[in-house]
């Protein structure tokens, strides 16, 4: 018989993103982190060992270069894991910088309201309108050589704007909610309201933003390294490995494929986790 579900254009359920995706993402991230930390010990080579007998060697199980080598004979398995370690570290630290600045800025602006809020957000608007990537790019070209700390700060400084906006908007809407009014009417002091009622209710938003920000930070770091402005030789991040791989891609395609696949899987997992968290915390949003 014809449609019992005549409802309308939409029917059936959403694709199974959400929980399963988030769990898969989280599991994979844990696995990759463990690999980055302990994986290099499994190989007989160090990340800067030059193996003259195997230059640009293809992946092979027999000579111990499981994922091949680069033209200097350095082991790609080890170098990729080191690159992964550095990319993860930079991603997490840069995100932490962003989160601290962004949450503090947004929560204070949102809760203070009025003129303070107007000025604080005006500043964010102006910074937002600047093509920030270029400023960071200039910063990185000018100062960035060999200074991972500066790279971190520069990258972290990009991310906090979005987070500050989101946190402020959320704080504003929380502040208008009646339970905050109830707390004020009950005689709770402003710092008590921020700590006891506003921050706990922001936790979900912050978690989602942070999770989605880590892959952006990793991409950005790789992007800088790809342009030759980030991590410098002999150290390696996934971005610089991809750059090296791209220049050798005809002769030694594994040099491009290995770090590229690791980077893509890493980003995919963080995105899955972030999207899953968002769906779980806010079931009405798609």
């Amino acid at each position: 018989m014809h449609g019992s579900t005549r409802a309308c254009v939409m029917s059936r359920s959403d694709p199974p993103r959400g929980r399963r995706g988030a769990l898969l993402g989280a599991g994979m991230i844990a696995l990759l982190t463990l690999l980055a930390l302990f994986g290099p010990r499994l190989s007989p080579y160090a990340f800067n060992t030059l193996d003259w007998r195997h230059l640009s060697a293809a992946p092979s199980l027999t000579d111990g270069h499981w994922l091949g080598t680069d033209p200097l004979g350095r082991d790609l398995y080890v170098r990729t894991l080191y690159g992964l370690r550095l990319s993860l570290l930079i991603g997490v630290l840069a995100t932490a910088v962003s989160v601290v600045i962004g949450v503090a800025w947004g929560a204070v602006a949102g809760y203070a309201g009025g003129r303070v809020d107007a000025w604080m957000m005006r500043l964010v608007d102006v910074l937002y309108a600047l093509p920030y990537l270029f400023i960071v790019l200039i910063l990185a070209t000018v100062f960035g050589h060999d200074s991972i700390t500066l790279l971190l700060v520069a990258i972290g400084a990009v991310g906090w704007l979005t987070l500050a906006r989101a946190v402020r908007a959320q704080t504003l809407s929380l502040k208008r909610r009646e339970f905050i009014e109830a707390a004020r009417a009950a005689g709770l002091a402003p710092q008590g309201i921020l700590l006891r009622h506003i921050l706990p209710n922001l936790a979900g938003t912050i978690a989602v933003y942070a999770t989605l920000m880590i892959p952006q930070m990793i991409t950005f770091e790789s992007f800088l390294s790809f342009l030759g402005l980030g991590v410098q030789e002999p150290r390696a991040s996934l971005g610089s490995l991809i750059k090296d791989g791209a220049s050798e891609m005809l002769a030694a395609p594994w040099m491009l494929l290995v770090p590229a696949v690791v980077l893509v899987v890493l980003l995919l997992c963080f995105n899955l986790l972030g999207d899953g968290l968002r769906d779980a915390l806010n079931p009405t949003a798609r």
Partner: protein, 618 residues
């Protein structure tokens, strides 16, 4: 796949009602054993179970029930407008066709042409980016094949027919530029555009003020008389049905439980549930003889609050949300505050609690003005003044348990209390509002609206404050729950001598609970009087119109009452008239009313602000 439930089950569902519906030649829509359920597999949720209803030409069928009773779902299902996937069974005949069997394309030829629909929320029911004129013309072009020009002409006529003011200009405006009442008129015009046989009105007045509600009902009455269209009026409020409906159906949890003429159902209800629905609205006596109020708990002296309103292009205009408010509230006294939405009722509650700062005048708590005190001292005084809110769920922090929510005032003001003692006091308080042990560990989203409101009351009462401010505490609750909360408030007032500042648009509950009533109009005081006097003999013309606008759930009285309502749209708070603010809607306005604002004058034991209250008498 449309499945029909087994016959035995169907008969068991509603045996006494199954065959009552006629099939006469006049029948416009006949719904026969309609069932709707959502979900799939084992988790099927029946929303409508075996409902049979019909409506005849020129007749108005009222469908009454609380939220979730399946009233809207029944008719949405019949017209294929359910918003989520559902299984629909039964039949819905419009003339000779069964709507449930028709493909979408055929249904589109019927919807808007032969059946018009009006939905509850006029704010979101019009397409935001299309001009009013276009939206009215659209179905005319589509169904009647009119040219754009003809359609525009017809749209103009229709909008005049629904008495939209200033039609030519409104046609070019967007929905957000119209008030709620005007948008609902536009919705009705669209529904009438193709001269339908049937008009389905889903809570058409629920989102509107009483004054506007009466006007819309009046308009619907006129349409019914003039055009002979069949009406289905879906509502939770018997008052809205009484003036219009010829027959009334009562639904509960997806089933039809009572059906009869309006007189039968409303005067001699068979079902206890119907009686329950009718009860809280049947006029209750104003509370009698109480002890004189004690010392002043709250004084508002010449209080004024202003808001900055952005009027576009960055120009900021000040808008007087409250002006020259003068009120004293003694211990054990209950004062009601009434008025249309936007009159400053809620602002008054926030200003009284010093949650917003007044621009003029002052607030005094138990003889001490909080404006002059250090912040710490103000917070300490707050333990004596508590508030319960309109939206019970929004007023509870979603990430806390009920225990922590109710304990919060204790943790702020009684730090010396030990954890076990605190828990004990929270438990006792929750028991008093009728919630027992297991609730302690629940979160707000696990509770019903009524339970949330009781948690809110428990939180407000745990410190035994001297003043309890109630901001529309009942409006988000079902009728049955309303009665319970009202009883609880009455009890608190008489047992503990708590003073109540009770804001509501529901005049019946104000009459039940309050000793005195303050009528606000656009942030100004119109009348202050004892509740009894105010309801029996109002002095201000606005108070009279407000009282006249309350629907009476009595089919004998209601039509006559509806005919007498004449309040127009309220002016914009940004463009106030000169002199008396009410004069633009006042049937008794004279020259002097436009010249100067009336004084706040003593009248008997009450007060009133009207130039003509003496000559108009009571």
């Amino acid at each position: 796949m449309r499945s029909t439930p087994p016959r035995a089950e169907r008969l068991a569902a509603a045996p006494h009602l199954a065959l009552e519906e006629g099939n006469g030649p006049d029948t416009v829509l006949a719904i026969e054993s309609l069932g709707v359920d959502f979900g799939s597999g084992d988790q099927r949720l029946p929303a409508v179970v075996d409902v049979s209803l019909s409506v005849r030409r020129g007749e108005c069928l009222g469908v009454v029930g609380e939220s979730g009773a399946g009233k809207s779902q029944t008719f949405l299902a019949a017209l294929g407008l359910l918003s989520s996937p559902a299984r629909v069974s039964g039949r819905a005949r419009l003339g000779v066709e069964d709507l449930l069997g028709l493909p979408e394309r055929e249904l589109d030829r019927i919807r808007g042409a032969r059946v018009g629909m009006v939905f509850q929320d006029p704010m979101t029911s019009l397409t935001p980016h299309m001009r009013i004129g276009e939206q009215v013309a659209e179905p005319i072009i589509r169904h009647l094949g009119a040219s754009r020009r003809e359609a525009r002409g017809r749209a103009l006529e229709l909008l005049e027919r629904v008495r939209l003011p200033d039609v030519a200009r409104r046609m070019r405006q967007y929905p957000h530029e119209l008030s709620g009442g005007m948008r609902q008129r536009v919705m009705i015009a669209i529904a009438l555009a193709c001269e339908p046989q049937l008009l389905i009105l889903d809570e058409p007045t629920t989102a509107l003020d009483v004054t506007l509600q009466a006007q819309i009902l009046q308009l619907l009455g006129a349409i019914k008389r003039e055009s002979g269209v069949a009406l289905v009026l879906i509502t939770h409020d018997f008052g809205a049905v009484a003036g219009l409906a010829d027959r009334v159906a009562v639904m509960r949890s997806g089933r039809l439980i009572e059906l009869g003429t309006a007189g039968e159902v409303m005067k001699r209800p068979r079902e206890p549930y119907t009686r329950e629905l009718l009860r809280p609205l049947s006029g209750e006596a104003a509370s009698e003889s109480r002890a004189a109020p004690g010392p002043a708990v709250l004084e508002l002296n010449d209080l004024g609050v202003r808001f900055a309103a952005d009027s576009g292009w960055g120009r900021r205009r000040l808008w007087r949300a409250l002006d020259a408010i003068q009120l004293t509230l003694g211990a054990g006294e209950a004062v009601g505050v009434v008025g249309e939405s936007g009159c400053g009722k809620s602002t008054l509650t926030r200003a009284a609690l010093h949650l917003i700062r007044p621009a003029e005048g002052r607030v005094v708590w138990m003889g001490r003005p909080p404006a002059g005190l250090p912040a710490r001292e103000v917070r300490r005084l707050r333990r004596e003044l508590q508030i319960i809110f309109q939206d019970p769920l929004a007023s509870l922090d979603p990430h806390l348990t009920v225990e922590r929510i109710v304990a919060e005032p204790l943790t702020i003001h009684c730090r010396e209390l030990g954890a076990s003692e605190r828990r004990e006091r929270v438990r006792r308080m929750l028991e008093r509002v009728g919630l027992d042990g297991p609730f302690l560990t629940r979160h707000p989203h696990e509770l019903s609206g009524g339970q949330c409101q009781r948690v809110g009351i428990a939180r407000a009462m745990i410190l035994e404050p001297r003043l309890l401010v109630c901001d529309e505490p009942l409006s988000a609750l079902d009728v049955a729950t309303q009665a319970q909360v009202l009883r609880l408030l009455t009890e608190l007032k008489s047992a503990q001598g708590t003073a109540l500042l009770y804001v509501s648009h529901n005049l019946a509950t104000v009459r039940h609970l309050c000793d005195r009533v303050l009528v606000l109009y656009l942030g100004r005081m119109a009348e202050l009087s004892s509740a009894r006097r105010l309801f029996l003999a109002p002095r201000h013309p606005y108070t009279r119109e407000l009282l006249a606008a309350i629907p009476v759930p009595d089919p004998d009285l209601e039509p006559a009452r509806l005919a007498e309502v004449h309040l127009g749209e309220p002016p914009s708070p940004l463009e106030l008239p000169s002199g008396c603010l009410f004069r633009t809607r006042c049937p008794h306005a004279i020259a002097v009313c436009a010249e100067r604002a009336p004084l706040w004058e003593r009248a008997g034991e009450g007060w009133v602000a009207c130039h003509r209250f003496r000559e108009l008498g009571s």
